[in-house]
């Protein structure tokens, strides 16, 4: 087997706050192979965006401590100098941001911003070439009339168009790894599908691996093969999309699935939201962080309350749960 493109080992991210240290990510590990798409899902505050930002060391201006290993092509990003990381950013790894309305610099034309992204990593490019590159990028991401649009400012574009430009900026250097942090959350539903298609197309063209951060399970099913489910700063399940959605091996994943409606579900079945809300990271419950919201927790003699579950193989998936697999699959059948 070839070495993965990205290999994250025991990632811990701690923020220093007035109320003490907050551990937003606690021991996350995963691999991404070249050209592969994986999804990281979870509720707000589960640590998925923090994980994404840490991959590029983008936790700008905050009092933050990142530990563990992030190996990109075998080189540890966390051990690099700031200057070395800078050379990687936008070049070998790029990011698509959540809100296209605020992600573009309002003071420069979009052409200028795309060209800048290229020029940073190709310093001796002539102005004419840069313009040509920006023009082609705009064309590739499907901006109509690129000749005219290239000299316009971000505020002259719609949200969907701006996200296309953000994508153009991210892909102008054909990065090996593309991190998409909730790229469709801020967009209209009709535009969401277009943007996802575009990310898929671009991935094909550039051969980039994609880490898609989202809380939208529909999006996950649509474009990825592997999914990491995060809860309270930990990965609780790692599985192929078909396994995770067909036979989830963690009660939290099951809960997520039961709280969305699918087209083929019976009109009269009610959605089953997960009770309660995600725990505060400052004051995590003991044992399994999910136990206060887990409907199976009581069936195990207090193990869930006292012991943090380790990741273990369950069929083809990995899951961090004390519960025997059979119990979960039984209940899965019950609900269907």
């Amino acid at each position: 087997m070839t070495e993965p493109l990205l290999s994250v080992r025991d990632l811990r991210v701690t923020f220093g706050t007035r109320d003490g240290d907050v551990c937003a990510v606690q021991g996350v590990s995963f691999d991404v192979r070249e050209g592969e798409t994986i999804a990281i899902v979870g509720e707000s505050g589960s640590g998925k965006s923090v994980t994404a930002n840490s991959l590029m060391r983008l936790n700008f201006g905050s009092d933050v401590r990142i530990e563990g290993q992030i190996l990109l092509n075998g080189r540890d990003i966390l051990a690099m100098s700031e200057e070395d990381v800078r050379r990687l950013r936008g070049n070998e790894m790029a990011m698509i941001f959540q809100d296209p309305l605020t992600a573009l610099n309002p003071f420069y034309t979009v052409g200028n911003q795309i060209a800048e992204a290229y020029a940073i990593h190709h310093p001796n490019t002539s102005k004419r070439d840069l313009r040509e590159i920006a023009l082609q990028s705009l064309q590739k991401v499907g901006i109509p009339e690129p000749n005219k649009r290239i000299d316009q400012y971000p505020h002259e574009f719609s949200g969907g168009m701006r996200q296309r430009i953000v994508i153009a900026i991210a892909l102008v250097n054909s990065p090996k790894l593309l991190i998409a942090d909730e790229p469709t959350t801020a967009l209209d539903v009709t535009v969401q599908a277009q943007i996802l298609d575009l990310i898929g197309e671009m991935q094909q063209e550039h051969g980039s691996a994609v880490i898609l951060i989202t809380h939208d399970l529909g999006v996950v099913a649509e474009i990825t093969k592997r999914v990491l489910v995060m809860y309270a700063g930990r990965v609780v399940e790692s599985a192929s999309v078909s396994d995770a959605f067909g036979a989830p091996s963690h009660p939290y994943t099951l809960g997520l699935l039961n709280s969305v409606k699918s087209l083929d579900s019976d009109r009269h079945t009610r959605l089953e939201p997960i009770p309660g809300s995600p725990p505060s990271l400052i004051d995590l419950p003991t044992g399994c962080p999910f136990h206060p919201r887990c409907r199976f927790a009581e069936s195990l003699n207090g193990e869930c309350i006292s012991v943090i579950p380790e990741m273990k193989a369950v069929g083809n998936s990995w899951s961090a749960c004390h519960l025997p697999v059979e119990v979960l699959s039984m209940s899965m059948k019950d609900s269907q």
Binding site: L58, F97, N105, E116
Partner: protein, 329 residues
């Protein structure tokens, strides 16, 4: 863009007309009689009445305003043949108290005020924006504390207090500087410098204080913007990111305030000029208030208004140039 500038300029002219009419009306509505001021204390009513007619104060206010406006463009002759005094265009009136054309008085005092304003403004922008940027970049460190401490002290000191203290320290106690005695820059540049250096610093310290806070907060706010994070994610160097992304965005609102502050200062630094014995517009205005010298008051008010209105227009046009989002409308 040309349309924007054109529209903004027309608006400024209309505004100036309104301001001038309003100023003129306010001062003629004052209870003090301008005609009575033209001859000494023991004046016979007949003389006052004659002067009133001679000066045109008996005419309806609109006609007086018309004459005044006409004088600005064509010049104006006050009084009759024998004792006639001609003030050439732009004539802003004649001061009977000082026996001089108001325009001449303003032409004498304005360079003084301009010298104060330009020097102080340059200093305070340098200090204010410089310290503010430093404070933001070193947030929470000692540089930040020093800068914000300076800003609190600067804000709490009134100009006159700081002015008097600085004269005491630098002129009287240590003798580092001679007592301020203004001289034109062309006549005696050294004397010009030494007379202005204290007022520059005093005004700069007092005004820079708020600029420190504005700059600091502006930069910190912009740093949290998503587009700055995108700039970082692109691989921009920290320095480029700060200058091209953060400062660029943070300084736009400061330009607006700076422009207006500068214009306000050009209208006369009343307190500073009095303390440092500088014969500028502010001192001229102050003397005119004490002597009820209406023609001067109308003129200095108008001049100050012109500065503010022009600065407003310039700032608006500049804003449109700096921020593409404004240009669009």
């Amino acid at each position: 863009m040309i349309f924007f500038v054109l529209r903004r300029s027309i608006f400024a002219i209309v505004l100036l007309l309104i301001v001038s009419a309003f100023t003129f009306w306010i001062f003629s509505a004052l209870p003090s009689d301008p005609a009575a001021l033209t001859c000494g204390k023991n004046c016979r009513p007949e003389v006052i009445e004659a002067n009133r007619i001679r000066l045109g104060y008996d005419k309806p206010i609109l006609e007086q305003y018309g004459g005044y406006m006409k004088g600005i463009f064509t010049g104006r002759t006050y009084g009759e043949e024998g004792a006639a005094i001609h003030c050439s265009a732009p004539s802003l009136g004649y001061s009977y108290d000082r026996h001089e054309c108001v325009t001449t008085l303003i032409a004498k005092t304005l360079p003084v005020t301009a010298s104060i304003a330009v020097g102080a403004f340059t200093l305070w922008i340098l200090i204010g924006v410089g310290l503010g940027t430093l404070a933001a970049l070193k947030r929470g460190k000692w540089q930040d504390r020093v800068a914000t401490g300076f800003s609190v002290i600067g804000v709490s000191f009134p100009t006159f207090f700081l002015g008097l203290i600085s004269i005491m320290v630098f002129v009287i106690w240590t003798g580092l500087l001679p007592f301020p005695q203004y001289s034109g820059i062309t006549e005696n540049p050294w004397k010009w410098m030494t007379s202005l250096i204290l007022p520059w610093f005093v005004l700069a310290v007092v005004s820079a204080a708020s600029y420190v806070r504005m700059t600091r907060n502006g930069i910190l706010e912009v740093m949290n913007e998503e587009f700055v994070r995108l700039g970082l994610a692109k691989g921009l160097k920290r320095k480029t990111l700060i200058v091209k992304y953060v400062m660029r965005a943070a300084l736009v609102p400061i330009v607006t305030i700076a422009g207006l502050d500068f214009a306000f200062l050009l209208g006369g630094a009343l307190v500073t000029e009095s303390i440092f014995n500088l014969p500028g517009l502010g001192k001229l205005t102050l003397a005119a208030v004490i002597n009820s010298d209406l023609p001067i008051l109308v003129a200095t008010t108008l001049v100050a208004a012109v500065f503010i209105v022009v600065a407003n227009a310039v700032v608006d046009i500049l804003y449109g140039y700096l921020d593409p989002r404004v240009r669009a409308k």
